[in-house]
């Protein structure tokens, strides 16, 4: 009984702690961002200049380029990853025999566990030259970052989608086959609608992950403050800009980076909340 009480107190403590952490992080970001928010207001979102004055005291800072870079690299990643991940999940649950599905499933789970810096290094040394020789550009840039991001989130997305497809009751599939449905029709009419919540949830969680990814993108996006005119152009993203500039930045620049961090935090928070509570949490009958 003692143990039970201790455990309850402990879990209560952890749960409260995570809530306060969340609020605390938000409060800190918000406080430190104040200077920049006062100075630039909402124009911050649309201003593409990021320049400190000579004396490092002030300057003009706008989040437009990293925001655009984050959005574009994420969009590229999602456009590539979503159909592939769905395909893999369908293959694993409905098409592959057990002998194939098992090892592939394990491989996918392992891929999902690889630290992102390794994807970044692999992308830079191995993949960027391939992109350069096939589509042109400098190797590093939006497209390379987007594709490697896609490769990073595919295993994760495929694994969640597969799990939710696997919850489709066998008799439900059998009854569709018993009506004369083909495999394709069973997938489309029974499995997909049945696991819709999990599928959308996995897409949104992957989106959250792509938005916040730092290491892999830092290697691959080029880290230059310029608006990409072309899909292969280098640019930067919010996490990359933060990681690169934190060491030297002061005052207003520092505050502007907190402003950027706040934007990313709020957007990711909403995305994950929607995914978790609306889609993944909802029980399908």
């Amino acid at each position: 009984m003692m143990g039970g009480k201790l455990f309850r107190n402990f879990s209560f403590f952890s749960a409260t702690l995570s809530f306060f952490l969340l609020v605390g992080i938000f409060a800190i970001l918000f406080t430190y961002a104040q200077e920049s928010m006062h100075e630039f207001g909402f124009d911050f979102l649309f201003n593409g200049t990021w320049e400190a004055d000579e004396d490092d005291e002030g300057g003009i800072f706008g989040g437009f380029i990293p925001i655009i870079g984050t959005l574009l690299s994420t969009i590229i990643a999602m456009v590539i990853a979503t159909p592939l991940a769905m395909g893999i999940a369908i293959f694993l649950t409905e098409i592959a025999s057990e002998a194939i599905a098992k090892p592939v499933s394990i491989a996918i789970e392992l891929l999902a566990a690889i630290p992102s810096i390794i994807y970044g290094m692999w992308g830079l040394f191995y993949f960027a030259p391939i992109v350069q020789s096939t589509v042109g550009g400098n190797g590093v840039g939006l497209l390379t970052a987007g594709i490697v991001l896609a490769i990073m989130i595919i295993p994760f997305m495929a694994a969640i989608t597969r799990d939710s497809m696997n919850t489709t009751p066998l008799v439900l599939k059998e009854s569709a086959y018993a009506m004369g449905a083909t495999k394709f029709e069973v997938i489309k009419d029974v499995i997909m609608p049945y696991s819709k919540g999990g599928i959308i949830g996995s897409i949104i969680l992957a989106l959250g992950r792509a938005l916040g990814e730092t290491m892999a993108v830092a290697f691959l996006i080029g880290s230059v403050m310029s608006i990409p005119r072309n899909i292969t152009d280098p640019t930067t993203s919010i996490p990359v800009l933060l990681a690169n500039n934190f060491a030297e930045a002061q005052d207003l620049e520092m505050s502007s980076m907190y402003y950027l961090a706040l934007i990313l935090f709020v957007v990711s928070f909403f995305i994950i909340t929607i995914a978790k509570f609306y889609f993944l949490g909802r029980k399908v009958k």
Binding site: S97, P169, V171, L172, K173, E174, S175, A176, Y177, A178, M179, G180, A181, T182, E185, D189, V190, P193, Y194, V284, K285
Partner: protein, 263 residues
């Protein structure tokens, strides 16, 4: 028993599950009479579901099962087909539209009531809206569920009660105008009231289709069926008119089972 009254005929049928050492069915010979209700009874694990699931070849969704013998399906035009010869996906689809199946638990699809019943019709290529509507209504009426559903056809089928869902599943199967309907313990997950409604429905259905029903409920088998097959350990122990099986069985085993001395 004259051949022309049969809708299906199982001949020397043996079945072994993938990976299993012993066969689950051994040389089964069983006629299925047209427009009659045939009940399959027997203790758990004797092979009732296995046999039923062979009759629309739903087993073939899973690889590696072994079977031999014949299962003939007699068509409306008098021709016969050994359904164990079927290999092409198209022929499987035709078979399953001719031999429908209803499961133990209701299995409504995650779509509206209307779409559930229209599902098989759409698969079979009917697109015309008014034809679909007509056939859906007829099927719902046939499954005695039209009154309860006609104002909520657009609502999700998942919101219905268990008994309603099961009748919806029957409507869904009936809509395809099958020659045979296979029921695997269709009422074992339902309350007595819904069970009564389903039994009544099955009794009416035999005007249109031939019915094979697996049940553990002896009253249900005796009330409902015209013929009864008693299975035991993968064998067909006894088959006869239901009255004969229940009043005067030939085998001691059958008598022990129906009087509840084991099971």
């Amino acid at each position: 028993m004259a051949k022309e009254n049969l809708v299906m005929e199982i001949k020397d049928f043996s079945f072994t599950y993938a990976g299993a050492e012993k066969p689950s069915l051994k040389k089964i010979n069983l006629p299925i009479e047209e427009n009659k209700i045939t009940a399959m009874i027997g203790p758990s694990g004797c092979g009732k579901s296995t046999l039923l699931r062979a009759m629309n070849r739903i087993h073939d969704l899973y690889p590696g099962n072994k079977y031999e013998g014949k299962i003939n399906l007699y068509k409306a035009d008098g021709s016969k087909q050994n359904i164990l010869d079927i290999k092409k996906e198209n022929d499987f689809i035709k078979l399953r539209q001719e031999v429908g199946m209803i499961f133990q638990k209701p299995t409504p699809f995650p779509m509206s009531i209307f779409d559930n019943v229209a599902y098989g019709l759409r698969l079979s290529g009917i697109k015309n809206r008014s034809e679909l509507e007509g056939r859906v209504e007829k099927a719902l009426k046939g499954a005695a569920i039209l009154d309860e559903t006609k104002d909520r056809l657009k609502e999700s089928a998942l919101g219905m009660s268990g008994g309603q869902q099961q009748r919806l599943c029957i409507a869904r199967a009936v809509a395809l105008k099958p020659r045979v309907l296979l029921f695997d313990e269709p009422t074992s997950a339902l309350d007595p009231f819904s069970t009564g409604a389903i039994e009544e429905l099955i009794a009416e259905l035999k005007e249109e289709v031939s019915v094979v029903i697996v049940t553990h409920n002896m009253q249900q088998a005796s009330r409902l069926s015209d013929y009864t097959a008693f299975m035991y350990l993968g064998d067909l122990a006894e088959y006869d008119k239901t009255e004969k099986i229940f009043l005067n069985p030939t085998q001691k085993l059958t008598e022990d089972y129906i009087t509840g001395r084991f099971g």
